[in-house]
Symmetry: C2
Subunit: 478 residues, 2 copies
């Protein structure tokens, strides 16, 4: 360690270059690594010292251990053959912005503590708003992820309940004795239930509405459920619509849900976590039809817009309700600018806030809106290509419509007959597909069918990779 | 833009070097910038285009705008004369680790999705546990910040209430009709109230216990409040103790609070956000006395341990209750390892998880435990030095005991007599101190006295800077 308390600027430069080199090579050689870590639980732990070192170790030793200890335990989300979950890939400009953000290391809790962060965040959120075509009356803020965004949307819905005293009295003490109920489709993300149990609404406060043959919420079922609940003494307060479900990218009929929400005076929160990025294409903007009337809405640029995790873009037409829900100002956080500038800490659970808007600034400028459109448009073309292959196949069938980035399929070889056997066959098939570590797909269940998913939304995924995975799947079926 | 969809590895290398250079110079020249941004709300926004660019812009243009647009709006948390709030400074190894984490861009939601991240996080949390001397039965997990850690601690306390059905029934539907109440000192952080209103407990569910002349919670007052509440039909369930309050670093008497919690069967959550790092010094370990019996506990290595934001280290003796509070597993997240490995998504609100443990790994290894001890020990020495100067001064008085990193003081010039005038004088004095942008101090109120705080916990703060701020304060008093 130098005399300087921190690493000296010279040492930072030297090892910074080395790490940049390491990362450039990592991106260049990404296909040489298996996408899926082929280790067992506990393997990495065994390589790590049980106790922290007393004395300084050199960056050289630490860097060497990245290759020795970390790399064998990596599932490479950046890999072009990572077609699991909804993937998220880090782009070069996004990574550089994160580096700068870490170096600044500000805390944008109040305007004064980081004016540049507060104002860049407001402007970047407005850029995103324009890119996906939400109206001007939507105001945006960055949260860390979809679970947080959904929690904030539902918390606002609760706060918007007429005459409620939840904020002060809590839920057990509110005069309104009726229990809250919110509605989501059977296919909405588990973060909705997590938000409900966190907010004191309870898992029973979430009613799951059935879906049609395309896995979209059925509006007449929603209406029926609300009527029934009102009769039985529940207080309906919120609907969570999904644009692009996690299982199959189903798109709930938002315009019809909006109509019901208006009639019934319910809050509408829209989860477009993965799909939202596709709305930057003029030809795909329709997926957000109706969302201009949502009360809160979010999508995650860290999913399909190549921003390193985490940036969840949350929008609302009611920032004043958001502030009413969360604002609390201690003396030591009061500043002379409080009437002239927004303090982001007032608009959410988090007090501390990283300089995340830099990532959007670098990314959108580097690619340009048209550059980003081009990338996502190619993903959609590749997805349609796989769909056409499935349609031509005798042994593979589609299990859900292909709306966006995701193909849901299963193998249906002639010798496998019953549904139970098909489920077993496809479960084993998925294991086989992933076995070599060269490919990574994941599954879901749709209508009780074990369903394999191919997700094409990685920055480095090209037609070549898609062909390889398709051939591999067919080979594994045998 | 190259033919490659992302920035090419060569371009990444080129601009990566440039940014590393920029940051090395930034750290080197940090004292040449004003610590406090001298701009007005809206100034930065005016320099930013209202709409996103359609076409690619070069990294060169983007980098140029860091200096042109961002830097004038920066409040420099890394600056050695940033002695406001509780500061947080980014160390070189921490910044490099964040760069690597952004490049990997994994999502450690389940073990399989990033084994290295899941296991490194477990081991690093155990290193931290050992460093601050918590017993082996504490299990740790990283959250993004103190607000999240406190929310999780209180959520667990709620889930631990005997016979409750909150998770399923919600709070309005729980058979136990009694309202929950939690206890904190008057000086606990505002995140406790924010957690209470988020969790449906309500602001009224938080009872503030008075403090003694050193701003520590008075245990007999706590006991009295619990008794009174039980009589009045409340259900006491949790105490939040603070080790190092935000206003004055007061340390609640945890051993006595533990005793009450045991007698009354209450959950004890301890907030040691800033102070916890000091416990890595053997001679300071006493500040955590009693915490070995806390049910949940956290501190923020991103505050006084030079890890870039965000790493909040949350520990609990009851990981099974944490899992019971938050676990929900959708089909598409089930894996074959679920019985053999911990999936971090089960232990909190967040599904997505960044590779944050890399920052602890780089930092602890680079500095070594002794290196970190040396830095914090020096901060404590400097704080005591300022205390001695205050004690020698005729026109400056201490307003709170100096326990850790923070000196709470006010000017008491002979010509200013009444308390109201003293408050006015000190408020104006603080404005004067910060006016030039060369220094940044913030205030609090203690016993209705406008109190100025000097916080010495920045990585680059040395005796020279402390002397300069002291001279400056005296000069401003006039």
């Amino acid at each position: 360690m130098s005399n300087n308390v921190d690493m000296s600027p010279e040492e930072f430069r030297k090892y910074g270059y080395e790490l940049i080199d390491w990362i450039a090579d990592y991106f260049k050689n990404i296909e040489k690594f298996p996408v899926l870590a082929k280790i067992n639980p506990g393997d990495i732990k065994l390589k790590l010292p049980k106790s922290p070192p007393s004395n300084h170790e050199s960056m050289k030793e630490i860097f060497a251990d990245i290759d020795k200890i970390i790399m064998p335990g990596m599932t490479h989300w950046n890999h072009p053959k990572f077609m699991a979950y909804f993937n998220s890939t880090a782009s070069g400009p996004g990574v550089l912005a994160e580096l700068l953000s870490a170096a600044f290391n500000i805390n944008g809790m109040v305007w004064k503590s980081s004016p540049a962060s507060t104002e860049l965040e407001e402007v970047m959120m407005d850029w995103l708003r324009q890119m996906i075509g939400l109206p001007e009356n939507f105001w945006g803020i960055i949260y860390d992820g979809g679970s947080a965004s959904t929690l904030h949307g539902i918390a606002m819905a609760k706060e918007a309940v007429k005459g409620n005293q939840f904020r002060v009295k809590g839920m057990m003490g509110d005069k309104n004795g009726k229990k809250l109920r919110l509605y989501q489709s059977e296919h909405a993300h588990s973060s909705v239930e997590k938000a409900a149990l966190t907010l004191g609404i309870g898992v029973e406060g979430v009613r799951k509405i059935s879906v049609d043959y395309e896995f979209k919420m059925i509006p007449t079922e929603l209406k029926k459920a609300i009527d029934e609940d009102r009769k039985n003494g529940w207080l309906p307060f919120c609907v969570v619509g999904t644009v692009g479900t996690t299982s199959s990218t189903a798109i709930d009929p938002i315009p019809e849900i909006v109509k019901i929400c208006k009639e019934e005076n319910l809050w509408l929160h829209v989860d477009a976590a993965h799909a939202g990025s596709a709305a930057i294409l003029p030809e795909m903007r329709y997926i957000l039809n109706g969302c201009e009337e949502a009360d809160s809405f979010y999508f995650n640029p860290h999913k399909w817009m190549f921003v390193p995790i985490d940036v969840s873009a949350f929008f609302t037409r009611h920032p004043e309700i958001l502030k009413k829900t969360f604002s609390l100002t201690a003396e030591y956080l009061k500043t002379e600018h409080d009437t002239k500038a927004k303090n982001h800490m007032d608009y959410g659970l988090q007090l501390g806030r990283r300089f995340r808007s830099l990532k959007l600034w670098f990314l959108i400028r580097y690619f340009g809106v048209e550059g980003l459109q081009k990338i996502i448009r190619e993903h959609l073309r590749l997805t349609k290509l796989v769909e056409s292959w499935v349609n031509e196949s005798d042994i593979i069938e589609l299990i859900a419509p292909v709306n966006l980035s995701t193909i849901c399929f299963r193998a249906v070889p002639k010798h496998v007959q019953s549904e139970a056997e098909l489920n077993n066959f496809n479960e084993r098939l998925l294991e086989k597909i992933n076995e070599s570590g060269e490919f990574f797909l994941t599954h879901t269940k749709l209508n009780h069918k074990f369903t394999i998913r191919i997700v094409i939304s990685g920055l480095r995924t090209t037609e070549k990779h898609v062909k390889e995975v398709w051939e591999h799947v067919n080979k594994c079926i045998g």
